[in-house]
């Protein structure tokens, strides 16, 4: 177990609506302000007292731009965690460390995206890290690059298409109950899935997330302070970040394993630091930029073995309230909306509070996995007070 275990907690959540990409009525800086102020209201914290700011990936709403509008009294800590969606749960690590070491008292973790106000897809998201080796050979998008991994997962390791479909079906089933989900009106059937166009084989349209314009925020404070605020705290039990030897910026040369999420070592540290294991988890928000990568994340976390994926990934096992492992209960990256995974943390918190629109009864341990297959990744386990 680690010193970080339970030292800090999430006490506030804020989310703007999800807009179709490029249609947000507000620029992304304003969306960030909406999410942060909403999270402060939710927590019962004066937004001016937020003194730490953490984001990740290609976030452009940096704290220097937010401060004047938030009325920030003093910014004491500001940091960006490296890489793309892989960094999502690692923001909780960063915030916990800032709080434990006395560098900040109230840390906002946020992500804001709006296509109109930043050249997100072409320039910002790519962050100048798509090498010529890809572009010369007709590969540009994460959908294509992760399709290479999916092909290996399915053809070589034998994970069936039905497992991919089950994650899509579960995501939209949950989205249908979530009035804030972008996919709330989408009825997902085998026919809709099968008839959707191919994007990059083996991925069909609904295997892929679609980026939305939106922002989300969670507020982190010390466990001590959390006790005196409005909401039931979601304690951060562990949030390891990193990558294994043989991972990192190696393009398609990852070894010893390739087709899953690069999270085996992270998950081992997660279980060790938290004192829990995969069997203890009540509910999981699994990052699904592309769904087979999320299946890889579940394999890496030990929920099932590669050869068990077809049997485990069935609709009834993946849905709230009574599935073996309800996943993406807000609709997740596929059904709720995708802002590089940032919708997953608020939903993991709602499950602990008991306020999800697809609530798992008595959810005490709530997992959030980071961008699978990213150059570096992370994962986090949240718990109620009873899990400390």
């Amino acid at each position: 177990m680690s010193k970080m275990r339970g030292a800090a907690a999430i006490v506030g959540i804020g989310q703007t609506p999800y807009y179709k990409r490029g249609t947000s009525p507000e620029p992304e800086l304003q969306l960030a302000l909406r999410a942060i102020t909403q999270a402060a209201d939710d927590a019962g914290i004066d937004v001016r007292d937020i003194d730490g700011f953490v984001s990740y990936a290609s976030e452009r709403s940096d704290p220097s731009k937010l401060m004047p509008a938030l009325g920030t009294r003093e910014c004491k800590f500001a940091s960006l965690v490296w890489f793309h969606g892989g960094a999502l749960p690692a923001t909780l690590n960063m915030a916990s460390m800032a709080i434990m070491s006395g560098q900040a008292d109230i840390v906002a973790i946020y992500r804001s995206m709006a296509e109109g106000s930043s050249q997100r897809l072409r320039v910002i998201v790519a962050q100048d890290d798509t090498s010529a080796q890809y572009l010369v050979n007709g590969l540009d998008s994460p959908a294509q690059i992760l399709a290479l991994r999916a092909q290996r997962l399915m053809e070589y390791h034998g994970v069936p298409q039905s497992a991919l479909f089950a994650t899509v079906q579960a995501s939209y089933f949950h989205a249908n109950n979530n009035p804030n989900a972008y996919g709330r009106n989408m009825e997902m059937t085998q026919e809709v899935y099968d008839n959707a166009r191919m994007i990059s084989e083996p991925y069909r349209l609904f295997d892929c997330s679609r980026e939305n314009d939106a922002a989300a925020c969670v507020l982190v404070v010390s466990a001590e302070r959390a006790k005196h605020l409005k909401q039931k705290p979601a304690y951060i039990l562990s949030a390891p970040m990193g990558t294994m030897e043989g991972g990192g910026a190696l393009e398609e040369n990852w070894k010893p394993y390739y087709a899953t999420a690069g999270q085996v070592e992270l998950a081992e540290r997660l279980w060790k630091e938290s004192g829990y294991g995969p069997k203890d988890v009540d509910v999981a928000q699994i990052y699904m930029n592309m769904n087979s990568m999320g299946i890889g994340a579940m394999v890496d976390h030990g929920f099932f073995k590669m050869e068990e994926a077809g049997d485990f990934c069935r609709f009834e096992n993946l849905v709230a309230p009574s599935g073996k492992l309800p996943i993406n209960t807000s609709g997740g990256d596929l059904g709720e909306g995708f802002i590089h995974g940032m919708g997953l943390i608020p939903e993991a918190v709602r499950q602990i509070r008991g306020t999800s629109t697809n609530q798992v009864p008595d959810a005490n341990l709530s997992l959030v996995t980071g961008g699978p297959g990213d150059l570096m990744s992370s994962t986090a386990l949240l718990g109620s007070e009873s899990t400390l």
Binding site: D129, S131, G138, D140
Partner: protein, 144 residues
């Protein structure tokens, strides 16, 4: 002689592979091997992570390998629109046994019959063109 790719240089990722592209433009398939411990480092880098040497030799190889994985792109993606008329096209990641099983990407050429993980492929070199962003490229062809 001026190399085409140098006039159209893309930045991104590690960026230590100029010698690979020079090799292809000169009609050679070359990969970097550590001069000291003989480890193959790919993608190319500046220092050997195994032994600490800063010296690599670029070894001419016969472009032969096996399919490690592949995808068939069915959509004209934003930054590779030069290939929109070729959609669908297959990009192969080939494992190169003669170079410690490092994996090198290339677009599939010729008949797709028998395309599968593990299938043998041979490479041929194509000169720079707009489709390859004015870089030279290796094309993999099934060699069943």
């Amino acid at each position: 002689m001026a190399y085409s790719f140098e006039q159209h240089k893309m930045s991104g990722a590690i960026g230590a592979d100029d010698e690979y592209w020079r090799g292809l433009e000169d009609g050679k398939f070359r990969l970097p091997q550590c001069s000291s411990c003989q480890n193959w480092t790919w993608p190319a880098h500046y220092r050997c992570g195994k032994c600490g040497s800063w010296d690599f030799k670029w070894v001419d190889l016969e472009p032969k390998g096996t399919v490690f994985t592949y995808t068939r792109s069915q959509y004209a993606f934003d930054r590779v629109l030069e290939r929109k008329d070729d959609v669908p096209y297959v990009t192969v990641v080939a494992e190169i046994p003669a170079a410690g099983n490092v994996r090198v990407m290339g677009v599939l050429k010729g008949d797709e019959t028998g395309l599968a993980i593990g299938a043998p492929v041979k490479g041929s070199i194509e000169p720079p063109s707009a489709k390859t962003k004015h870089y030279p490229s290796i094309r993999w062809e099934l060699d069943l």
